[in-house]
């Protein structure tokens, strides 16, 4: 450890215990939002203060940490959080999904299937799925307590009435363990099926809103829908331009100022792994050159 002024993983032990108690309660009541005494962190709200506190509370010296932001290991947010824990906890870090024991994520679930003994920590901006329709916290708590979830379908109804289909593409509400309706954080609905019966433990931390919730391993997670408008994960009509993956979540990348663009895996580790294994997409070589050119 090269920053002796800080306690292991930044937070003091009392705070970590408080957070762990909240986490244990959250695991015991899948999908239920447990209030916790969220601390000030050395980063602004909205940059993952909730996720960071959860990670800090569960991290041990033997853990291997991976941090992704929109699927990518190399964005500012991901790098700074990864460095933060490398510095304050001295833990090993990785970008490889299989190697990680703790993965903190903003807005994605890795494409590589998770395994038991892994923990996925989500950064959550607004934990309350009913918030936009019911502004009163007292009322939404009561609705959760009494499992009154008609309002959640009102939102989906509005989508169909307006767009002809359920247009909610991210933060798509799910019902956990047939009891609590939960906001899966702004992950694309493409990732919703991955939450169902996942062997990994999933923890959600909302720093500003001071809530922690969880999906224990192998828990039933169902995306809400209507009988005549069933849930459909987003599908892309072309494979990844770099690794030719058929069923991964794609990002659009603008390649020039003439309307040129390409669609590539948002999960950079997955994409690179496939390319290393010899998979090649339609644009594998070309954009590399352009990128080099534009930055040169």
């Amino acid at each position: 450890m090269n920053a002796p002024a800080y306690n292991f993983a930044y937070l003091d032990e009392q705070t970590k215990r408080m957070i762990r108690r909240a986490i244990l309660k959250a695991i015991a009541i899948p999908g239920y939002q447990v209030p916790f005494a969220s601390r000030e962190m050395p980063m602004p709200y909205g940059w993952g203060t909730g996720g960071v506190q959860v990670t800090a509370a569960i991290l041990g010296p033997q853990d291997v940490l991976k941090v992704i932001d929109q699927g990518s290991d190399d964005t500012t947010n991901a790098i700074s959080i990864r460095k933060f824990f490398a510095k304050t906890a001295g833990v090993a870090t990785t970008t490889a999904t299989e190697e990680a024991t703790v993965i903190q994520t903003r807005h994605r679930i890795p494409e590589t299937a998770l395994h038991a003994n892994q923990v996925l920590v989500y950064q959550v901006p607004i934990p309350e799925p009913l918030r936009f329709l019911e502004p009163r916290e007292t009322e939404t708590r009561r609705m959760h307590a009494l499992a009154e979830y008609g309002l959640m379908h009102v939102k989906l109804y509005e989508d169909i009435a307006r767009f002809g289909h359920i247009a909610t593409a991210y933060a798509y509400p799910v019902k956990v363990n047939a009891r609590y309706v939960m906001d899966p954080s702004p992950t694309p609905k493409f990732d919703n099926p991955k939450m169902d019966h996942s062997p990994a433990l999933q923890l959600f931390g909302a720093g500003r809103e001071k809530r922690i919730y969880a999906i224990p391993p192998y828990t039933k997670v169902v995306s809400l829908d209507f009988e005549d408008h069933p849930f459909e994960p987003y599908r892309f009509n072309a494979p990844c331009a770099l690794c030719a993956a058929e069923n991964s979540y794609l990002d659009e990348i603008v390649t020039d100022d003439k309307g040129g663009r390409m669609f590539v895996c948002s999960d950079t580790d997955y994409c690179e792994g496939r390319q290393a294994a010899g998979h090649h997409g339609s644009l594998s070589a070309a954009p590399y050159k352009e990128k080099a050119g534009s930055h040169g």
Partner: protein
């Protein structure tokens, strides 16, 4: 015959209801029975305790004394105070309705009319978009709202339309009892007449029991079978609406009746 037997049992019974706020008694010793299909008007001036009484009857306010009991859909009569919150809220969105004076209190103003009507159905587990929408549009027709407006939010509606939408939202689960708090309060006279007329026919058609709070005796005359006149938290006179209005006995009732401006 089954109907007649059922009718012999009151739907709701208030027994010596009282409510005080500190030293102020807002409601004193109110008792009555309400039967299916019966419309009861509670009249009186502002501050007479009629709105407090409505809140006590609908279980939104705990009484300081007395009981309200209600015959549930399964035929069992229950004391409202013994219902759990979940049961009470379930009652509120299935077998009861509540029409507020201000439609913004009873509607979701930013959500489409169709979803406003459909919400109660979704709350009781309807899970088929097409059927929810068909039922909502059927109800819009019944309250005389053009179904072309089904996807518009009520904030784009006129006052009268909002109030009619609020009624549709309440009636979609076919409640047996509807509470109304000055439902025509903020409306123009012509809009009021249309709403009253609509309410009158819906009440008869659906055999609704209604408890309506109003300070407008004309509303009471048009809609209700019975009236209770309140003053200072007490019921001072009660009876058939036309009896009380045509043959008022209490000084205060006579004053109320004589204060109506001739049309």
């Amino acid at each position: 015959m089954a109907d007649a037997l059922e009718n012999d049992q009151p739907l709701l019974v208030a027994d010596s209801l009282s409510k005080s706020f500190g030293r102020i008694a807002a409601c004193r010793d109110v008792s009555f029975s309400l039967y299916s299909g019966e419309v009861l008007a509670i009249v009186g001036e502002s501050g007479s305790g009629k709105s407090t009484l409505l809140q006590l009857l609908s279980g939104q306010l705990a009484a300081s004394g007395g009981h309200v009991s209600y015959r549930m859909r399964d035929g069992v009569t229950r004391d409202l105070a013994t219902l759990g919150e979940a049961e009470r809220r379930f009652l509120f969105r299935t077998d009861w309705g509540f029409v507020h004076q201000d439609p913004a209190q009873g509607l979701r103003m930013a959500v489409s009319a169709g979803a406003n009507v459909g919400e109660r159905l979704m709350a009781v587990g309807w899970n088929h978009y097409g059927r929810i929408r068909d039922t909502a549009s059927d109800w819009l027709t019944r309250v005389e709202i053009d179904t072309a407006r089904i996807d518009d939010a009520p904030r784009t509606y006129s006052g009268g339309m909002r109030q009619r939408l609020q009624i549709a939202r309440n009636l979609v689960t076919e409640p047996r009892l509807v509470f109304m708090d000055e439902p025509t309060g903020g409306l123009d006279v012509s809009v009021q007449a249309r709403l009253l007329d609509l309410l009158r026919s819906l009440v008869a058609e659906l055999n609704l029991a209604v408890i309506i709070v109003t300070h407008d005796l004309a509303v009471a005359r048009l809609l209700s079978h019975r009236v209770m006149v309140m003053k200072g938290g007490r019921v001072i006179e009660t009876g058939l609406t036309d009896q009380v209005l045509d043959d008022p006995r209490e000084p205060y009732t006579q004053l109320l009746v004589s204060s109506i401006l001739p049309a």
